[in-house]
Structures are given as C-alpha cells and as structure tokens.
Symmetry: C2
Subunit: 355 residues, 2 copies
C-alpha cells in the first residue's frame, strides 16, 4: 500500500528544514518497509504569491485532497506579503477546508536541551496542547466602519459552535483518558470574555460526564500562562480554543528550551481529508538562508505523520533517534539554537543515520 | 488639600492584603505630610452579591465618582458567584464607566525574589505592560443561537475603536519616550486574527510617526509569550489589547517569580473620573483565610496611587521600603510564596516601618 505525501516547503527556513524532514521519513520508511510517495508543490509560499498574485492555485483543493498527508514547512514573509494575506491564503485554508479540527502539539523537555526555567530536567515537562483549529477567534466575520475617520470602529467576531467545540473536547478527553495521569486542563477566560468562554466551560463540564475517570481543572488563560512557567509539571493534556491554543503551544515549547523542536499535527481525525504536519516555528526571516535552522520540529512532525498513517513504531523510531542525538550532545552536529556549531543538514543527517 | 480614597477590599485575600496596603499608604502620608481620607465600601464583593443579588448598589457611580482614587483588593469567588457575573458586575464596570482606559502594570525582578527563569537577576527584567482597558476582546456584544441544541452557535464580538486604541497607544509611546531605552513593543496577532489586528498594527505605525525617537517592534502574541520566557530583557514598554495585555501582565510577573507582588493602575489619564489601583493577583480562594497572602501587590499599587495623586517621592519611598525588606530576606518576615514563614501582617508591618 502506497501512501502519497504532499510536500509543501513554503517560505524561509521551511525550505531548509523540509529536506531533513523528508530524509528522516525516508530512513524510517526504509527500516519499516513503508511505501511512501512524494509530490512537491511550490504553492503555499510568498514567492508563489509574488508570481501569481495568490498563495494557492484555484484548484488547490482538488489537487491536494487525494493525498494521505500534507507535510508543510513554514509560511510567511512579511516583506513580500502581509502576514494576514499569506496565512489566510494558505495554512488557514488547509485547516478549514480539510476540516483539520484538532491541532495536536506535544510539549516535552528533551535530553540535552537547556530549559530557560531553573532546575527543570527531562521528564519534568511532558504534556500535550490540544487546540481547536477551525473556528473560534480565528474568524472571517467582521469589518471596518467609518474607515479612515476619527469615528472608525473595527469588529471581529469570535464564532464557536457546539459542533466545533464538542468534537475537539472529545478528542482531548480521549487523549487524557489514554494517558497514565488522566488529567485534563481547560484554558478559559470566562471572567472577562463573558459570552463565549462561560459557554466553553459548560461544554467542558458536559463532555466530562462521559469521562468519569478523567480529572478536569480549568484556569483563566492569564494565570495559566503564569503556571506554564511556574509549574509546567502540573500539566498532562491542555485543551484550548484556537487563539489560546496558539499561545500555549508557543509558550509551552519555549519553556522546554526552544520552539525549534516543537512539532504539530493538524488532524482530521475522521479521515475524510488529509491531515497536515508542520513544525510550530515559523519561516524565521531573521535566520533564513544560513542553513542553521533546527530541523527537529520538522522531523518530529514527520514522526507524527507516520503515527497518523498507522505506523506508531516508525514514528517512535524517529523520536528515539533525535532524542539519542540530543543526549549525545555533539557540538559540531547540533544547531546553534541548542548550543551547537552545526547546521540544519548536519543535525538532520545525524538523526537519519540513527533511524 | 485632602485626597479622598475609596477602599474596596472585595473578596478572599483582597480583604487580607488591603489593611497592609492602607498601612503603607498611612506611613507614607505621615512621612510626606499628605492628607488622605478613607471611606470603606462593602460592595464589589461576592458576599455583597449573596446579600443583595447584585455586585454593586444602583447608585455606585454617584457614590464613587467624587473620590480621588479607588483602592481595590481583589474580586471573585466562583463558589458564591460565577466569575463572569462578579467581574462584569464590579471591576469591569469601574474600568468602563470611569473610563480607565490605561491599565499600567510594571514588571520587575526584585531583590530577594527567586525567578523561575534560570540565571536572571534584579535589573535583568524591568518593563511595563500598557494594556487597553475598556474595549477590544472584553465586549458585551454577542450571544447564543439555537441554544441547547446540536446547532448551537455562540458569538462574541471584539470591538476596537480608533478613539480607544489611539489614546492608549499615545500613552504607551509617551511612556516609552520618557524611558532611557525608548523602546516600544506591540503585541499583535495580525496573521491569524486578521480583521482587528492588522488594523491595530496600522494604528501603531500611524502613531509612531509622532515619535521618531521611539524604536518600535512587534511580535505576534504566541511568540511574544515565548520571548517573555526566553528574553525578558528585550522589553521596555509593551503595549497590548485588553486580552493580550491581560495575559502578558500575568505572564510577565510570573517570570519575575510571583504574581503576588505585581501592582496595577487602572488609569483615567484625563482626570475626569477616579483611577483605580489594585494588585494583579485575584482573590485566591485556595489560600484565603490563612493570613499568608503576599501584600506587596497591594502595597505597590498604593505606591502607584500616590504617584498618580502627584506624590512621586512618596510612591518611591514605598517602593524603596519593600525592596529593602525583600533584599534583607528575613525568613520570619516574608510570606511563604517568596520563601518565608511569615504572614501578610508581618511583611506589611516590616514594610510600613521602613517607610
Ligand atoms: C478578573 C479579571 C476579569 C481581570 C481581567 O481579565 O481583566 C484580571 O485578570 C485582571 O487582569 O485584572
Ligand atoms: C502562522 C499563524 C497563522 C499560525 C496560527 O496562529 O495558527 C501559527 O502561529 C501556528 O501556531 O500554527
């Protein structure tokens, strides 16, 4: 059985880490006799926009929907295209149109990586952020009135639906249920955002009735970010709206030392459409072109891709491989963000060899 | 000239830290010959709600508007009143009706307080969060449709106005201009929240034209929270919308070791209405009633109150006093959150004696 993977390198360091992501996939595919087939696409990048005036071709949906998974690098290059145009024209389209309603982001302190937090060691931080990925604060409803005048008013609506919220909560509860600690934390802000968030809290409680074994707590997003820094060991599975999940899944990895290693899976759990795998980091214009970006976010995303396709051992082999390389800590191999003098390629090759 | 201060202890530890806040005010008033007069109000607390069915009496506005400042403890007690009712019925009313459009929150690593971040010392972290405090994501517009059914949709509108945004930006630019580093950071999320936030970015840029000496940068809120942890030394003045400012002003203090010491000033810079001073922390039901809450957030808020009334030396004397007590680090005096075995009162008294 052949699995077809669409490769979309995107912008900036996306194009630099992607080859290492593919190298790792290839190594795992060889070892576990998995048949992967790739097709690379130029669209979904700001260079494509500069040439074509849009981020994606008109028929992108038809061209991508038959793939078994999408492997994305990073997108965004504000000097070429404003961020809201490049992102709403690509990544956010994929998430919505392919109904990737769960954004799953592991957050783990890895061996050999220095946490900015004092006295934290591998094992102390190990949780998942489960982010709603299709609605909520990321809405396309709203606009400007009295534009350009002193009376200007700008409105954007947060839109939450029972359909959208319940399914991501179910995913989060299932995940918590499957883990030893069976603990779910809900990110809320029902004291201030007093229309949508109290309702979110109600849905969390309602879904909880089906999961008597899962213990649930909730924190307002402000103090929750504080607890990420002060008590990252408290968390097991954290479920959050689109915006809150976005924030927590950058902050969490920062607490583990670098967002350069953090992966993410944009999942369509129903399997109707392809899921999308991408590092949490962006295109990083500041370091792009120098070949020093950390490829582990991309590689780890590849591991999640293989798990999603039904090859958990292959995914695990990739994770074990980069953990081993990190634990060894060979300075000439590691990238600068984690204390090395190596390159994207040196780190990518070392990991692929381990697989 | 007599200054009239309304004291509203509120809930939980609010009632415990308030006497220490007043003790510090009194000490400074004696030393600097400032004439302060107090009146204490029971409303604005959940106990008041339980008795009266509302958080505030009908004539609260008339009764409070003539004061020179409001000194608030903390509000909220979810077991008695749901948070969105207690907060929208009190604090958020004050902020709106008294047009306290700037929420100013200093964030400083103090001597004697252990930061959860590795290798950070006093001086390394020293910035202000300037938060928009009357509109934005904290809106009262929206509602539920198809309530209680599978089709349920819940909408809440973020409302930003040029009037509201420009005035808080002006305050932030003025503050940045007055500081040695003259650096302003704007919290945005224009890549995802693609209607309101690109417009926010435009207003930041437009206002910047009046401040050629201020250097401005901007980060999306997700990576900005990461930078707070990884590079808190980068920041000087951070300006943010109501929600983003709420998050950053809990996260920032957490990076400095405890939110128990963080103060906030809800300012009506025009002086039309009284400004409100309160600690950043909440009512903390988990430790309430034990007399161990850290009173420094309340005391420091009192210092900001005196500065606002036109007594910067008196405010500074309070700050110097708690810095000195912290630097001494006498375990029997300090509260447990900062490594002591003392009480709210022992720490409050030690500070007042220093003043
Ligand atoms: C209690 C709550 C409504 C409030 C807010 O979100 O503004 C608090 O968190 C704060 O920061 O003052
Ligand atoms: C690039 C941006 C639109 C995106 C988001 O906010 O979802 C990114 O930050 C992420 O977390 O995947």
């Amino acid at each position: 059985m052949t699995h077809r993977i669409a490769i979309i390198p995107g912008d900036g360091i996306g194009t630099e880490v992607m080859p290492e992501g593919v190298r790792a996939l290839e190594a795992a595919a060889r070892r576990f006799a998995i048949d992967l087939e790739y097709q690379t696409f130029e669209f979904g990048s700001c260079d494509y926009y500069v040439e074509h005036g849009q981020m994606l071709p008109d028929d992108w949906f038809e061209r991508l929907k038959g793939f078994d998974a999408l492997f994305y690098g990073a997108v965004g290059w504000p000097e070429k295209v404003p961020d809201h145009i490049s992102l709403w024209g690509s990544l956010l389209q994929f998430r919505r149109r392919f109904d990737q309603y769960v954004n799953l982001r592991p957050c783990r302190l890895l061996p050999g990586i220095q946490s900015p937090l004092a006295d934290r060691k591998p094992g102390d931080i190990d949780f998942y952020v489960v982010r709603e990925n299709t609605e909520g604060e990321y809405s396309s409803v709203g606009g400007r009135m009295f534009e350009g005048t002193e009376r200007e008013v700008v409105i954007q609506e947060t839109v939450m639906t029972r359909h959208g919220v319940d399914r991501v909560l179910k995913f989060a509860y299932d995940l918590a249920q499957s883990r030893p600690r069976k603990t779910l934390t809900s990110a809320t802000k029902s004291n201030g955002i007093a229309i949508t968030m109290p309702w979110w809290d109600e849905r969390v409680a309602a879904m909880g009735a089906n999961y008597p074994e899962v213990s649930v707590d909730q924190f307002h997003i402000d103090i929750l970010t504080a607890h990420f820094v002060m008590h990252p060991d408290w968390f097991d599975v954290v479920v959050a709206s689109n915006l809150f999940g976005d924030i927590l899944s950058d902050l969490g990895p920062a607490c583990t030392g670098t967002i350069g290693v953090a992966p993410s899976a944009n999942l369509n759990p129903d399997g109707t459409f392809p899921s999308l795998f991408e590092p949490v980091h962006g295109s990083a214009p500041d370091i792009a072109g120098r070949g020093i970006a950390n490829p582990i976010g991309q590689i780890w995303s590849g591991a999640m891709l293989l798990e999603h396709l039904g090859y958990p051992e292959a995914g695990q082999a990739i994770v074990k491989a980069f953990e081993a390389v990190l634990a060894e800590g060979e300075v000439a191999v590691l990238t600068p963000d984690i204390g090395g003098t190596g390159t994207t390629e040196s780190l990518g090759r070392a990991i692929a060899e381990r697989i």
